[in-house]
Symmetry: C2
Subunit: 459 residues, 2 copies
């Protein structure tokens, strides 16, 4: 495809995307297809000969689109948001067009340096410890997902602890509300001792229970090495008390990792930063601009207070990657900060987003989502048909039907069945519950009012 | 940004990309900036207020572009290619616009099912074992990079071996030419015993040396669990004899992983498949359409002969991810096939590429690149100023100056210094050498002739 052919097809594709976004509410939010329907509609073999691009677009419209669940609908209330936005899509386009590899500084200096600039910017934007800037002992890096960051944190902690204990005596801690990626990451990193600490009424890790478990493990000759704390758990956006828990963890020399995958974006609002009190004491931190900061997946930020043990754990330098810039020590080679070698130019979309919205623009949207969530929570709380099952410090509201599990599950099924909204049914402490996550880029009062009308009608 | 604003900006961005691609040869191939230049030209803090998008594009042109190394230039001969192409960029655009998460089948069925379709298509296209199709016991999945695939393979092998040995007694094998990601992945997976087996004159793993090392380790009470074989090593595109080596490995019950990151794409040409003889005996395999199949990074394919141990090692199911489709067992949830949870809709770009080119179109380009490499190798071999230092079965030619290391290093520096080409200086068995990797999407005879003219002139 020549540049001129691309120009023509590219304009068509931009129109296709713009039309999609303008009409996204006309689709059922959740795809209605049955398992195997898309696969069955596609041929069993790739074409031998080139096909006209019109045929590809036709199949995109006719075969693929019915199998799309519309995460970019303003009526998306499931999981957490995985937001896109205009400037972010433009950033993805530029990155794809340039097609550079940022594995080393020297393989495209701008890819590395822009990444350093935006991760440093974010330290100030979110009120993170100043030592985490690349100008200090720490630093940030873009990874694919919070799962990758938790895994890398655990591998680093494991390597640091090797002098003190064998792997089968090391213990990893999290709460019973911690995201599953931590238990998964622990298993992948080779740990065999994983403790899920009980949580309190607000779904925050119980410091007394944590302290007791650590003491019991130490008494058994085990070695505590890692704890994952969460600001904004997946089930309810519970907040672990970082300062208190880190104090306990540090007495045993543990690595403390903070997962703020969803709620981290909200820390751009100073009035919410009390939720992250104590961050200056922790070792690593992660949050996802690809959730609630209007930046396409994948864009996970991972920070460490000290980059040396991370690089010690991840670095290896074969002859074909040696180069003057790397050997000079004057540059960052981000391949040494994570598992993969190759790297997309992901900082471009985040830079586009930060400049298009400005910090004030992002605050405006996040505060708006939080206000909508608080309004909805108020309505649910005031209505005897419903019960809130958890605090709602951010933009997630978790509720149930007062008639119990069956009525709750049926309500969730009925709501999703309308095709007008998508929300996540879940189980919380053996009770059925419904998660309403408000935070899609374009979700407004009108969308949440319509959701409330549906809840009211179907309950 | 409204859909209509996006439409306008999107058209501008398509023109920007098309102009870039049309003019890519006007830039010095390698960026000429000094460390810190880009970072120093950008402000220390993110903007508080929104900025006009024109300002962002101005800074993209004036600040970022001088720091770009042009991987999409037809004069790119460094590393291996990290190709883009028109249909691939269009696929990235569509994926960004849709902004779906494919972590579970149910979170966007088309993302999962199209992925299954294209990875199954690829089995036939590359002549891989039929049992690797998802309709059999195996299956394929898209990951970020070959590093991730090697790591996941090692974690799976480690979990399978847990019954037989403790981690500190397990041994991982590769050759002294295996990509650094295998040693790195072994360390990250927690292995402490790693053996680099010597290679023969063609840079292929020496079966006798492998067998001896395995016997010595077993005699020491160690347990061989994993070997990585390569079809097309990074330094020289050496090819390990899969059938022979797998025969040795299987006597000790090892997991055999094959890394064909670069050369895998060439297997679309039946005349080259003798290089992968024995694949039906191995446990896992990876190749990168994002290298030599005209598909943007990231698009790594990872296949397993049996998906059960992979899913056993990677699966974890918290309440908020439970859903009817998953529990029915009728669908694939690709989050259980790797470390991360979130997933981009990466199959879209590969589908666009396969349909736009057709298998014949891809073969045409790959055969063209190989022919250009063979021609260049012939010229180098016939000229007493140069020596070829390795066989050249695909599209990589590795040579040195007959006058020795200093002359070779100077030639590489001079060639890169022209700004007209980019190639990788390296060290091979303590000798300086120059890698010429031919395979950028648009590299033609004209580009390789110009490279030869430069070599001739500067030698």
């Amino acid at each position: 495809m020549t540049p001129e052919d691309f120009r023509k097809r590219g304009h068509d594709m931009v129109d296709w995307i713009a039309d999609y976004l303008a009409n996204v509410t006309r689709y059922p939010v959740n795809s209605q297809v049955e398992p195997g329907a898309i696969r069955g509609a596609l041929p069993d073999a790739a074409p031998e000969q080139p096909e006209p691009f019109e045929d590809v677009i036709r199949d995109l419209n006719e075969i693929i689109m019915p199998g799309i669940t519309h995460w970019q609908s303003p009526n998306w209330f499931s999981y957490f948001p995985a937001n896109s936005s205009g400037p972010s899509v433009l950033g993805e386009m530029a990155a794809a067009g340039l097609g550079v590899q940022g594995m080393l500084w020297s393989t495209s200096p701008a890819a590395t340096e822009l990444e350093t600039v935006v991760v440093d910017w974010m330290v100030d934007l979110l009120g993170l410890p100043n030592a985490w800037k690349t100008t200090g002992p720490g630093g940030g890096v873009i990874q694919m997902s919070a799962s990758d960051s938790a895994h890398v944190a655990m591998v680093t902690a494991r390597e640091l602890a090797r002098q003190r204990a064998s792997l089968d005596r090391m213990v990893v801690y999290a709460s019973d509300q911690t995201h599953s990626s931590v238990e998964k990451g622990a298993r992948i990193a080779g740990f065999t001792n994983f403790r899920a600490i009980p949580t309190d009424a607000a779904f925050a890790m119980d410091p007394a229970a944590f302290e007791e478990q650590v003491a019991a493990d130490r008494a058994d000759g085990l070695v505590p090495v890692f704890v994952a704390l969460t600001v904004g758990t997946t089930a309810t956006t519970g907040v672990d008390p970082i300062r208190t828990l880190t104090g306990i963890a540090k007495k045993s020399g543990m690595w403390v990792h903070v997962d703020a995958a969803y709620a981290g974006s909200a820390m751009i609002c100073p009035e919410l930063r009390h939720h992250q009190d104590g961050l200056e004491l922790v070792d690593s931190y992660t949050f996802n601009p690809h959730k609630w900061m209007f930046t396409n997946f994948d864009c996970n930020l991972y920070y460490v207070a000290d980059r040396k043990p991370l690089i010690d754990a991840m670095s290896i330098l074969p002859p074909y990657l040696r180069n003057e810039a790397t050997l000079s020590g004057k540059v960052i080679d981000y391949r040494d900060w994570h598992v993969p070698l190759g790297r997309r130019f992901r900082s471009l979309k985040l830079w586009f987003v930060l400049r298009h919205y400005g910090a004030e623009g992002i605050r405006h949207h996040i505060r708006g989502h939080i206000e909508l969530a608080q309004d909805l929570a108020g309505k649910l709380e005031a209505d005897p048909r419903f019960e809130l099952v958890a605090p709602h410090p951010f933009s997630l509201v978790v509720f149930r039907h007062s008639d119990g599990d069956t009525a709750t599950t049926r309500l969730a099924t009925d709501l999703n069945g309308t095709g007008q909204v998508s929300l996540t049914p879940t189980t919380l402490r053996d009770m059925s519950a419904i998660r309403v996550s408000i935070g899609q880029t374009n979700t407004s009062k009108e969308n949440v009012d319509a959701l409330w009308a549906l809840i009211d009608q179907l309950a």
